[in-house]
């Protein structure tokens, strides 16, 4: 067994997911078989291999990753963005109380 029920619940907590009992059990089994499949990567010796984190750098040529000038531009979308929020107190997003006292 690659992943225990306790680990599934801990990962769910890290990911801010509130799983039901049934989901926790289903995911445990499914993640277990996926992780077992992923173990095949352990057959490779990668001790001398550099990780590839970003495709843009892989293209090598400097022209491939151009930089623009760092100048301020007008971005007048505040109202439009707030209009999409579930709860607003203009010009802020409103959320439940964060600080307990």
């Amino acid at each position: 067994m690659k992943i225990s029920r306790e680990e599934v619940l801990r990962v769910a907590e890290l990911a801010h997911l509130e799983l039901t009992e049934a989901e926790a059990e289903t995911y445990r089994g499914q993640l277990d078989s996926i992780l077992e499949y992923i173990e095949t990567l352990n057959r490779l010796d990668v001790s001398q291999v550099e990780p590839m984190a970003q495709m843009a750098y892989a293209h090598a040529a400097p022209a491939a990753t151009p930089l623009r000038d760092d100048v301020a531009r007008p971005c007048d979308v505040g109202e439009a963005i707030l209009a999409q929020a579930p709860k607003v107190e203009n010009p802020y997003f409103r959320v439940p109380k964060v600080i307990e006292r």
Binding site: H16, Q30, I38, A64, Q84, P96
Partner: protein, 481 residues
């Protein structure tokens, strides 16, 4: 299936220029087709009629004045619902964004708008583009117009189905591990994923940022080339979008392909490949040889590790990207007494099973104590996979493979086993991880009349050559093999 009489980018422009039809009439025609067929196909999630008719009016005004029309003038376009469209609901196939209306257009959308396209609406897809069958959409599955009762492929299933059923002339999809190419293969139409960095990702709602790409579907390779060329090129809003010049892809299509060396990787024709798919792709390769290409057997020796690598990297990036859906700034919110509780309840209610599964897997792979064993190791294997291709491209100009190991499977057939579903991407995730451009072209059907796709991969930024091979293949009858 695509009718011989289907509109193309060029025929729309000719008809508009000669005033045989107006952009408005063409939009009418497509909206009425959508009304008729969409209830059964479920390819579209939202229509953007108001915007479409505004766009059509602009094109018709130009035509009335006898002015030169832009390249995509009047062309009815469908857009995958993970691409931000100003004023048109964009759900990502998820309940968590059910009522989200973006305040801006993504860069590709801005460019196609400027080129005169008519935006018909937004197409169904797997939730947050996570899936290979479109069955992970919160808004129900899509029917494959080319194979009733079968999946249209995923995650851009709606975009593929819309074009295949001629409910759009061209459409946009996104590809992270095969999500353009595989539905293209399933629905029997050409579908292209460009090089990573060829098309700006600005306005593409992120799944896995080091893999995500935007690309077109069309009835013909020429249409795919037209749309790609108009979207491609550097963008100040995406620093990963490359400053590499964009050639006129359509202009280069007719050049003959005799003398090109095409690599055929043994690993892609091994166990697990459906016998009929193999036969069709072999006939495709034989046709390319007849056109003067030289077949070169090659090896891509780390292929068997690609799915495992992909499902670590893609889910790790997804777990980070999808942290933004927390009920604060947009989308669904489940009220609760505390902030953390609100996050949890919102995400629990808003995300579907596959999205949660991938967030869990990605969070696990990035979590303390497992990072080196999973994520870092996968990044290193990604280097090996990219190196396989780099070495191969020293000897060949393009690589030919099947797009998918099987023809489109039946709706519901694989939903119970996530790992089985992941294996549908076995021939497409490799090009995704290596950042390469690839197109899937139809290469005939099986004895049950199910579409088969052939994939053409090229080196970084070789879209022109990939399209040229695909076009020569199409012109020689390859689609009907």
């Amino acid at each position: 299936m695509t009718a011989q009489t289907a509109w193309t980018v060029a025929s729309v422009r000719d008809a508009l220029t000669s005033r045989k039809i107006s952009a408005r009439e063409l939009a009418d025609e497509y909206f009425s087709r959508i009304e008729k067929r969409n209830p059964e196909l479920n390819a579209y999630l939202s229509l953007s009629k108001e915007r479409a008719y505004e766009q059509a009016a602009k094109v018709d005004a130009l035509a009335a004045k006898g002015e030169a029309l832009p390249r995509l003038a009047g062309v009815p376009l469908a857009i995958k619902d993970v691409l931000s469209t100003r004023g048109t609901r964009t759900t990502c196939g998820s309940k968590i964004l059910e009522n989200y209306v973006p305040p801006y257009d993504g860069t590709a959308i801005v460019r196609l708008d400027a080129a005169g396209a008519i935006f018909l609406g937004k197409t169904n897809c797997d939730e947050f583009a996570m899936g290979s069958s479109n069955e992970n959409s919160a808004y129900g599955p899509v029917q494959n117009p080319a194979a009733p009762g079968r999946v249209p492929g995923g995650s851009s299933g709606g975009s593929a189905a819309a074009v295949a059923a001629d409910l759009a002339v061209v459409s946009l999809g996104t590809d992270t591990g095969g999500s353009i190419r595989q539905p293209g293969a399933c629905c029997g139409i050409p579908a292209m994923m460009p090089t990573y960095g060829r098309v700006s990702r600005y306005g593409l709602i992120a799944f896995a940022s080091s893999l995500d790409r935007i690309g077109p579907f069309g009835h013909t390779v020429r249409d795919v080339a037209e749309v790609l060329g108009l979207m491609a090129g550097p963008d100040a809003n995406d620093s990963t979008c490359a400053g590499v010049p964009v050639p006129d892809y359509a202009a280069g299509l007719d050049a003959p392909i005799a003398g090109l060396r095409i690599g055929v990787p043994e690993e892609y024709f091994a166990a697990g490949l459906d016998a009929e798919v193999r036969r069709k792709v072999e006939s495709g390769i034989a046709l390319l040889e007849k056109l003067g290409c030289k077949r070169v057997p090659i090896h891509l020796k780390h292929t068997e590790f690609a799915i495992a690598t992909y499902y670590i990297i893609a889910t790790a990036e997804a777990s980070s990207n999808l942290a933004r859906y927390d009920g604060v700034r947009y989308g669904l919110r489940s009220e609760a007494a505390t902030l953390i509780e609100m996050y949890r309840k919102t995400r629990q209610r808003g995300f579907g099973a596959e999205v949660k599964r991938r967030i869990m897997l990605g969070t696990y792979a990035l979590s303390s104590g497992y990072y080196d064993a999973y994520y870092l190791r996968a990044q290193k294997v990604r280097t090996l996979l990219a190196r396989d291709f780099a070495e191969a491209f020293e000897r060949v100009d393009a690589i030919i493979t099947p797009t998918s190991p099987t023809p489109p499977f039946k709706l519901g057939e694989r939903t119970a086993d996530p790992l089985q579903m992941y294996l549908a991407d076995i021939y497409t995730v490799t090009g995704s991880l290596a950042g390469l451009p690839g197109i899937s072209v139809p290469c005939g059907t099986t004895s049950e009349r199910l579409p088969v796709g052939m994939q053409i991969l090229g080196p970084h930024f070789s879209e022109g050559r990939v399209l040229q091979i695909a076009h020569n293949f199409e012109r020689a009858g390859g689609f009907e093999l």
